[in-house]
Amino acid sequence: MYSRIEVFFKNEFPDPLGNTIRSEIETFGFPGVASVRVHQVYIIFGNVSKHDLDTIARKLFVDTVTQHYQYNGDTVSHRGVSDRSPFHIIEISRKPGVMDPAELSILKALGDIGIHVDGIKTAQKYIINGNLSRETIQTIATRVLANTKIEDVFVYPEMPDYNHGNIHYTFKKNFVPLLDADNAQMEEISRLGQLSLNLQEMQAIQGYYRSLKREPTDVELETIAQTWSEHCIHKTLKGIIDFNGNRIDNLLRNTIMKVTEELNKPWCVSVFKDNAGIIQFDDCYNICFKVETHNHPSAIEPYGGANTGVGGVIRDIMGTGLGGKPILNTDIFCFGLPDTPFDKIPKGVLHPKRIMKGVVAGVRDYGNRMGIPTSNGAVFFDERYIGNPLVFCGTVGIIPKNKCQKEARPDDLIIVVGGRTGRDGIHGATFSSVELHDRSEQISGGAVQIGNAITEKALLDTLLQARDKGLYTCITDCGAGGLSSAIGEMGEDLGAIVYLEKVPLKYEGLSYSEIWISESQERMVLAVPPEKESEILHLFKAENVEATVIGRFTRDKILRLMYNSQGVGEIEMNFLHKGIPRLERKAVWHRRVFEEPVLSEKEDYGFDVKKILSAWNVCSKEWIIRQYDHEVQGGSVLKPLQGIQNDGPGDACIITPVLGSRKGIIVSNGMNPRYGDIDPYHMAASAIDEALRQIIAVGGSLKQVALLDNFCWGNTNKPDRLGSLVMAAQACYDIALAYGTPFISGKDSLNNEFVTDKETIVIPPTLLISAISVMEDVRNAVSMDIKEPDNLIYLIGLTRAELGGSHYYHIHGYTGNNVPKVDVTLGMKIMNALSEATNQRIIRSCHDCSEGGLAVAAAEMAFAGGYGMLLNLSAIAIEGQIHRNDTLLFSESNTRFVVEVRPEHHQQFEALIKDIPYGMIGKVTGEPLLKINGLNNRLIVHENIYDLKEAWQSPLRW
């Protein structure tokens, strides 16, 4: 039995959530809603007296200043709604088993005020005032308000009933008939079990069990499937690839990892083996950095997907070495176009705007609650991300130098800490490796879950204490594959025995298999020496964080799974980790030739400049950035938004992880999928150049820069997809090696294709390069806003006729072919010269040229600084012959910077750049106008900076 308490705003106070939802409903194309009021509903299970309910409401649920409450009232009572106008009532609650973070907090708070209840559930009741049909209300409920994969929706007169019977689990050991299965049957076993194992792998498993002369149990097969999943093992990129007839044995080892090996930098502490890469920072600390993707879950449930993506990568840092402290988040997204008409949305897909809002909210709520500044990011839009949005979540951590190594020992106890285990997120690892289609949501809904940041924050606070007290020898996070992957990995060289019935559960009814592979969030696994058991359990208890001994590491190199004294699984670690057959794939690549546009020259390019500034990929992302706390922890030196009104687009962010110290870290990212349509090699080269030049632009140097790679591609079983990935990886090797910047960690997400009944939508090849650099003295930082009138403006670097894949071509509907290339020898000289200049503190502002070229960089610098500029295109250093103004304005040639220098420093500056191409192209002006003279010495751009700013800010002013 249960009671309800509903809390709602008094009539005299606004209902901000209700108002937001009202306008949301309107933007999704349903006019006619006069008002929306939201009631927060608390369902209280157990036999609770009326008096107690009253106390609970008064003492806990209601803010007496602004709110009223009612309890056990009629579900459809509608206070706050005018009786004269028609209204509709919708109630939405999370499905049983879906995480509701508020439940734990409320149970704790009820304990504090001394009232016992059996359980808590929350729901929202929406009272929608307006003349709408019931059908429209149903659509609003499912399209705008709820996500039916994780939520139940009740539209009055339908009544919610929260009496769910408990599911009981009766133990039965299950075997899978594999020994005598033929190929077709084995494929069927893999498909029905959502194992994502291919036939070759199934055959290897069959061979192993034939040698053992027994059938595998269900949990054994699941363990193998998780461990062998693309997500966990990168079998494509580490497999054998036939590329245009050349055999590549392990692409990663031959490109990305080879850079690091050949550069052999002494400041690389740990690369490609731990949860994150580690580099040196100062005398006491190292820095670790990891970027993950969480694409498939975010497509199905954007809020939960992004939320748990952030939570997951934070745990990667917490599980690096003996545990890092997260100090910065970076989040990069790729979405379909926010203005896509509803009738162009494929079946089974959420609208890009809704995905974007959900993803941003998910990142915001997790990052902010963890107290980690989200100081860097990017968003990229392309219609091909409509079915496969990409969500890259990155976290930087700081870790004491002597806590970077870990190793579990035989007889160490296996302790699971943090959240409880539920049915959420089953098959996440295997799900992330399959193509999505319009029924994915029904089949894989279980793979989606919601995070609980506060559980993770409490876990972090406690773990760092346990780490500093030396209470454990090894740690890893429960990510994809849950306990199965975590313990399988930690015990690879030892062996382990796990008593699955000891794992604390959120609710009854989980089978031993589900317990083992559940991907419930906010859990980590520790290896604890037996003599530290009571101390560590005591420490966790004092912080209200659950810690439970569930097994121990052994020395027989066998993974043993027990359930109530019965053996349910026994696999040799050697087979589990080494038994996977090498994958062999074919890869080809042929250049696609695009139409080369012939655009007529114009007298005035002001319109084009504004159009590019308004393009989705260029326009201001302030709407997103302001929702992130980018100041928490106090280390912010260069913020994501810069300039006189704190609204210009910074190139990279700088933080000081240790307050009071001048040593900082710089984080940037580079990505340009559109170049990849023309040539994935030059796309990857440009992405690296972009990430590096952002580091240089803000005052950094190439001295100590580490890179991370994240490959998101289409289905690489298809040779053309894999071919373009091979090209990109080869560029990573060439360019990173030449710049002297090693890779320290990486990740891939393949199979980003969406199958509709008409077509297959393939994402553009998307390589995200994240860069991190240690900065000796943050007082050398340079922001991108111009500072004082009469200062000189230089364009550093060589401008080439490289408009292929540019934004200029894009706004005219073309791709072109002349994609920007990277000249690393020149690039290196340019970057080093600029670093020296920032070191001498003679650069007042600096901005890198990327999307939109010189014109966009100059416009952004001008409106961020609140001054104008007078520029002259004929002073630009060019390669060959360029006779067109549009090429000079908009070419996206790499390794170029717009730099502002005070007149008194011009000799000092020019002495530093004398060996590299540059042009002194103009100066800062007091009048707020961007004026650019063309080759014919006539003004070809003459725009008020506030008009330019408006063009840049308006598209995403949501």
Binding site: L60, V65, A109, T455, E543, Q627, V637
Partner: protein, 270 residues
């Protein structure tokens, strides 16, 4: 002279303890960051400190409403100790979530704390911090006019305005009724108001949340308790200021003055 001792109270979801710790230490205090569970099992612990600080964050996830659950823990378990703390002329600072906690625990605006009244907790809540009008969490820098010198934390300051960041979703200060507003005005308990760069009261975005009368921070009737939504601990170093690359590296007092004044007060009076 006493070395001022600060207790930074933390619990699940606290997250500005590191920078608050740094700011107090920079001002010359000795700081301990202590979990509420420890304070609840040893309530006498508070006696060892002269300053109690409730930092920013999302205590207990801000589930139910921001700061509510921690406010209840304080209200129903530590009421007596807190009253004694104030009677001993000690200081309490609540920043962001800490301000939300103090308000919901009836420790702000707290008209009666100066009298011997340990049942403060049962009084009706006078004010609250509601959802921002924009219904969004927002991080931005704001100008704050110093409206009164009643608070010990800004006692001797003669600068008209300071520049600090806010980062919150529930920061709209509203009162139960007009009489509360009259009282805090008459008592000079309004310490900070959001203003624009010219020092004038203006609407959004200068007032980031829609607070009544642009109120950003208030003190209690003794001046010993200060609650504010903006984060002073995030502006104690020259490089934290958003315009330092424009205007040069200057020692910034904007946020630091809060900590400096508190520490100086303790050094002088204890």
């Amino acid at each position: 002279m006493t070395i001022p001792k600060v207790l930074i109270l933390r619990t699940a979801g606290t997250n500005c303890d590191y920078e608050t710790h740094y700011a107090f230490e920079k001002a010359g205090a000795k700081v301990d960051v202590i979990h509420i569970n420890i304070l609840l099992t040893n309530r006498k612990l508070l006696k060892n400190y002269q300053i109690l600080a409730l930092p920013g964050g999302f205590t207990y996830g801000d589930d139910v409403s921001a700061g509510k659950i921690l406010a209840n823990q304080i209200k129903y378990n530590l009421g007596e100790e807190i009253t004694t703390f104030i009677h001993e002329k000690k200081l309490i600072l609540g920043i962001c979530n800490g301000f939300q906690v103090l308000t919901k625990a009836n420790l702000l605006p707290a008209f009666n704390l100066s009298r011997n009244n340990s049942t403060q907790g049962e009084h009706q809540q006078e004010a609250t911090l509601a959802f921002n009008d924009s219904n969004k969490f927002e991080a931005r820098w704001v100008y704050l006019k110093i409206c009164s010198h009643k608070s010990i934390f800004i006692h001797d300051e003669h600068i008209p305005a300071i520049y600090l960041p806010v980062a919150h979703g529930e920061g709209k200060f509203i009162v139960r009724d007009e009489s509360v507003l009259h009282k805090i005005t008459a008592n000079h308990q309004i310490i900070f108001k959001y203003v624009n760069e010219r020092g004038e009261e203006a609407g959004y975005p200068w007032n980031p949340n829609g607070s009544v009368q642009n109120i950003a921070g208030i003190c209690d009737s003794t001046g010993q308790i200060l609650g504010m939504m903006p984060h002073p601990e995030r502006c104690v170093e020259p490089t934290q200021h958003p315009h330092w690359t424009r205007n040069g590296l200057k020692e910034r007092e904007d946020g630091f003055l809060i900590f400096k004044n508190a520490v100086r007060y303790v050094k002088t009076n204890f």
